[in-house]
């Protein structure tokens, strides 16, 4: 009897210990915190956030890990790692930049060595883009093809594309499932530790939407906090006048501080249009031949090479083009009304002034914001 009693108490103690152990190990809780935007001064209040992917603090943080984790390629060999952050360098406004050690001149290629069809576009303020993503806007909200609508789809396309990551979505999700820490982060973000590629897309898209540039010198000027120099002011006048450099209709200004309309224009680079991935390829409208998205000019001095095909390596070349080398074609956008003079005909002083103004769109805080930077440690290294 005593022996039985001892055995009973022993079992009871073991049970209590086990129970304690279970309680002491915290179960992850799915209680995502809504991610809130402080709308910057003069910025749009309407944002492009899909109903099925509301932004959360947890989702953005997970997206940041995935954005920078080279295992997004679905491979673990050091030579086969590639993530969004491989090409999208924060210091270069999330483009490769002309100074990239691997992608010479800023022309990026995928893991297999195939060069991308177009050069990169920066990842800035994309949460305010309502007019389609990509140089030709092939991803747009009301696309009948539901697989080509928003940033989430861009993630999948980049992972699959041979000229980018060249991966396999099944392998990618399986790999992250096997990496310590990730399943828990997925649970916290989406309520399930079973990793799906859809949730990988969603997390990275959330992180990309969180990338906000709104504290350049010009932003502070607009708020009355800082004055522009004489040269910068001259440049601003040129930027926003039809008889000056006439940039504002496509690239914004004080009334549109995104510094882009995100719309598509044939800006007179060519007279013959052979690119099969221009805006025409999306709309079928003949007037869209040779038309491409007007990119934002924020941090533009860092995001060369310029134009969809990277034909210009410096801002000076771009300004020279708009000043003297615009070409007429039937498809040229009517906003390029200086075309028959070859461009806006800026003097050398005006070019310097214009460039000085454009440099006021440089946002150092965006380029160094720790919330946007590569994490010190990935989840399995914590």
């Amino acid at each position: 009897m005593i022996k039985n009693l001892s055995l009973f108490f022993l079992l009871l103690i073991i049970l209590v210990i086990l129970s304690c152990e279970k309680n002491s190990k915290e179960e992850p809780v799915y209680k995502p915190t809504p991610y809130t935007f402080d709308i910057p001064f003069a910025f749009p209040t309407k944002m492009n956030i899909p109903v099925n992917n509301p932004m959360t603090v947890e989702g953005v943080e997970l997206g940041r890990f995935l954005f920078y984790d080279g295992r997004l390629s679905g491979r673990t060999h050091p030579d086969s790692l590639m993530s969004c952050g491989t090409c999208h360098i924060q210091a270069n406004s999330f483009e490769a930049g002309s100074n990239h050690p691997v992608f010479e001149g800023g022309f990026v290629h995928g893991l297999t060595g195939i060069q991308t069809q177009h050069v990169m576009l920066p990842l800035i303020n994309l949460v305010w883009n309502q007019s389609g993503y990509g140089w030709n806007g092939f991803l747009f909200n009301d696309n009948p093809n539901t697989n080509f609508r928003n940033l989430e789809d861009f993630v999948r396309i980049a992972v699959l594309a041979e000229d980018e990551i060249g991966g396999d979505t099944t392998k990618v999700k399986q790999l992250f499932q096997s990496i310590d820490g990730y399943p828990e982060l997925f649970f916290k973000s989406f309520g399930s530790s079973s990793i799906t590629f859809k949730n990988i897309e969603k997390a990275i898209a959330q992180f990309v939407r969180s990338l906000v540039s709104a504290n350049a010198k010009f932003d502070r000027f607009l708020k009355g906090e800082e004055q522009l120099s004489s040269s910068e002011l001259n440049g601003f006048v040129l930027f926003t006048t039809e008889e000056g450099a006439d940039c504002f209709h496509c690239h914004g200004g004080g009334g549109n501080p995104l510094f882009t309309t995100h719309l598509f224009y044939n800006n007179g680079k060519d007279t013959v249009f052979t690119d099969l991935l221009d805006r025409f390829s999306i709309t079928g409208n003949i007037t869209d031949k040779g038309a491409y998205k007007a990119p934002t000019l924020r941090n533009i001095e860092l995001t060369g090479p310029y134009m969809h095909d990277g034909r210009f390596s410096s801002l000076d070349e771009v300004i020279d083009f708009y000043s003297h080398h615009v070409k007429w074609s039937e498809q040229i956008n009517p906003l390029m009304h200086h075309v028959l003079r070859g461009g806006v005909q800026l003097t050398s002083t005006q070019k310097e002034d214009l460039k000085a103004f454009i440099r006021t769109l440089h946002d150092e805080g965006f380029l160094t914001n720790p919330a946007y930077s590569r994490p010190d440690k990935f989840p399995d290294e914590q």
Partner: protein, 287 residues
């Protein structure tokens, strides 16, 4: 007894509420204004070089974006009813089909109306920079240096110029500028450095770069005095507002693109002529 009184009070209240609701429903109707861009009486075909204006310029139209404000209904007794609230604007864009139908909503008092009026653009009290932060309206901003606020209209297209080339034009209307024609050349905006440097000897800065010393409001009112229509309770009355594009270039001023060139935001003389022409650009019909 107390309970009976409370029940009676509640019943009366409910009946009263219902009565008010039904009164509201029977008193108000809707107006839908369909926008129509036409040239020479036919529906606009964009990007087709098939039109000729009063000056003899062959031209095409690629897109039109414009804003109206202060939309009012007029009654026989001279009273007016403002649609929406003061400062409301309506944005119309040939590239955005949903903007081509102004649904005023079921808040229009039923009855007979003798006409309608609106302001083309916005008056100086309403036309303030940064009042629209969201596209597409924000894309209409008019640079502060040129007067600020917003374009009243962007009408973009091309015309066949005297060299027989399709030249782009931006027929943009908004606040005009007064330039200081007596200012020394060295004070011309952003041209001063060039004017004083040796390699620009003989360079004559264009008038449009002179210092700006004032602004001119170019908005104008459009009134349809004798277009009678009725609004019936709980029903929609359809009106059609037609913009006759050829009239921008016609009456009372013959507007010649070869004279005014491709851009007029800094040419008050051109904008003035255009706005004077605007007086018979619009036509209102009851559908």
């Amino acid at each position: 007894m107390k309970r009976i009184l409370i029940t009676l009070f509640m019943a009366v209240s409910l009946v009263s509420c219902n009565k008010n609701q039904s009164k509201q429903e029977t008193d108000e109707g809707n107006i839908i204004i369909e926008i129509n861009h036409t040239v020479d009486g036919k529906q606009l075909e964009t990007d087709q070089m098939i039109y000729t204006n009063a000056a003899g310029n062959k031209y095409l139209v690629s897109e039109i974006q414009w804003m109206i404000s202060d939309l009012k209904l007029h009654r026989a007794d001279g009273s007016t009813i403002l649609i929406g609230k003061e400062g409301d604007i309506f944005y119309i864009d040939s590239d955005i089909p949903e903007s081509m139908q102004l649904d005023l909503g079921f808040g229009v008092k039923s009855g007979d109306y003798t006409g309608l009026s609106f302001t083309f653009g916005m008056n100086e009290l309403q036309n303030k920079s940064l009042r629209f932060v969201n596209p597409p309206e924000s894309f209409m901003f008019w640079p502060d240096y040129l007067g600020g606020g917003y374009h009243y209209m962007k009408l973009n297209g091309k015309w066949i110029n005297t060299d027989d080339v399709a030249q782009p034009f931006n027929f943009h209307l908004g606040i005009g500028q007064v330039y200081d024609t007596l200012a020394p050349k060295s004070s011309y905006v952003s041209r001063s450095a060039c004017c004083t440097s040796a390699h620009c000897e003989g360079y004559t800065p264009p008038e449009k770069t002179m210092p700006i010393i004032g602004f001119i409001q170019n908005y104008f009112d459009v009134r349809f005095e004798d277009t009678s229509f009725s609004v019936h309770a709980s029903k929609s009355t359809k009106l059609q507002l037609e913009m006759k594009i050829e009239n921008w270039f016609k009456n009372p001023n013959i507007y010649d693109h070869n004279i005014w060139g491709g851009s007029i935001m800094q040419q008050q003389k051109a904008m003035k002529k255009a706005c004077e022409n605007g007086i018979d650009v619009f036509r209102l019909t009851v559908k």
